[in-house]
């Protein structure tokens, strides 16, 4: 009986630790997505911190500290910051979206998902690639201009909606000329 209790205690502690780690992964997006930002804007020389309303990173052609007049290349943002109510089958899907100043997406990167086995199983680069070059005025329709792999539709549909809606929100508030 005491052995049973010990096993139970160990399982309980391990379970709590894993639960907290898993919850933290699920709630918080990557702290420092420098590599991901670089992939979205290969030509950028510097990025701002995640600030503003709505929360976003700004990509610059030159470091704004040394060259304050350097024009911004575009913005990047987390879908989970913009449309937190949008979730897949199991929970939030963390997607970093890059958009240039004219409202054209430079790419998307999925950094976290906890969807059930087989639900988000599209070729990761392929899923992300098809958003590159999309305009915010595009329809973003799964099965139309966005490929759907069967069975993944709940997760893919949610991710697509999140990208579309957050991009439109950011463009509306930060890029007034893009929405004209």
């Amino acid at each position: 009986m005491s052995q049973l209790k010990r096993v139970a205690a160990i399982v309980l502690v391990l379970g709590c630790v894993t639960a907290i780690a898993a919850a933290a992964d699920r709630i918080f997006t990557l702290q420092n997505p420098a590599a991901e930002l670089k992939r979205l804007f290969p030509g950028a020389a510097a990025f701002s911190a995640l600030t503003g309303d709505p929360l976003h990173f700004t990509a610059y052609t030159a470091d704004p500290k040394t060259n304050p007049s350097a024009p911004p290349l575009g913005v990047a943002f987390w879908t989970t910051d913009l449309v937190p109510q949008e979730h897949g089958y199991h929970g939030p899907i963390h997607i970093l979206v890059g958009m240039d100043m004219t409202g054209v997406l430079t790419g998307v990167i999925v950094t976290y998902n906890s969807e059930p086995y087989g639900y988000f199983s599209v070729e990761p680069p392929k899923f992300a690639m098809q958003f590159k070059g999309k305009k915010i005025s595009d329809p973003f329709r799964v099965g139309g201009d966005v490929d759907a792999v069967s069975r993944a539709s709940i997760s893919i549909a949610s991710a697509t909606r999140a990208i579309r809606d957050s991009a439109r929100m950011v463009a509306k508030q930060l890029l007034p000329e893009a929405t004209k």
């Binding site: 052995q3 399982v11 379970g15 898993a22 087989g118 199983s121 599209v122 069967s150 539709s153």
Partner: protein, 280 residues
Amino acid sequence: MDAAAEGWREILQPQALDLVLLAAFLALALVSFFRKSVPLKYVTFVAAVGYLGFTKSSLVSVSDVFRLTDLSVPEFKFSLAWYAFMLFVVGSTVLWGRVYCGRVCAFGALTQLMDPILPRKMRVEIPVRIEKHANLIKYGVLAGVLVYYLVTKDVAGPIRYAEPFWMFSLFGTTAMWIGLAVLLVATVFVRNLYCRFLCPVGAALGIISNLTVFRIKRWSECKTCKICERTCEWGAIRGPKIVASECVRCDDCERLYMDQQKCPHWLILYKRKGNTVVRS
């Protein structure tokens, strides 16, 4: 060559964690099953609820059954964990019966975890003649949702909520949470209510389990003895027979068979051989 290797790394890397954790979990489930160990079974339950449930929501859903009917399955190389999981579920059911229901399914594990916590007094034993009919409800549910699917071809809609498995995502409307609360409160009185009487996946696996290769051994004494029948929490033993489609391989009767102090098979053998310990 380099490009191919790079390709495989890109394919496997995002899936590696899922594959490792799934393999570890399934190994635990099988070890607990073969060793007939009670503590390990509860460890398996906790892991099932924590990992397959709250972390991944990876339960076999009735939508998986539809997908198989029209062969619309995920792309193999990007869904290795799904294929491994399905192979285990179907394979273990053919080999041993509804092992999946008994210790892998997160919802089943959750309701079974309620069992030792809740007082025995609150349980209501359902008379066999009612139980026999109640067992059939799940086949009706399976037929109903299958017809719904074949007519509408819609899996993302209301059918998603036909099973309580959405609970592990923690996203539900107030009405859904109330429904779940009613179901769980009912489970306090009728144990494993959902699995035994309502679950369409259980029904589908129940049909497959009629093929079971390695069945639970029965002694000739089982024709008259009622100990296991009374112990079985799943109502799967009727007289000398174990009803494969209701049995989830919980090991309770098999542990009794091994108990030389309780099982009449051994007690009768002792008497004959003059109280020397014998093994079959």
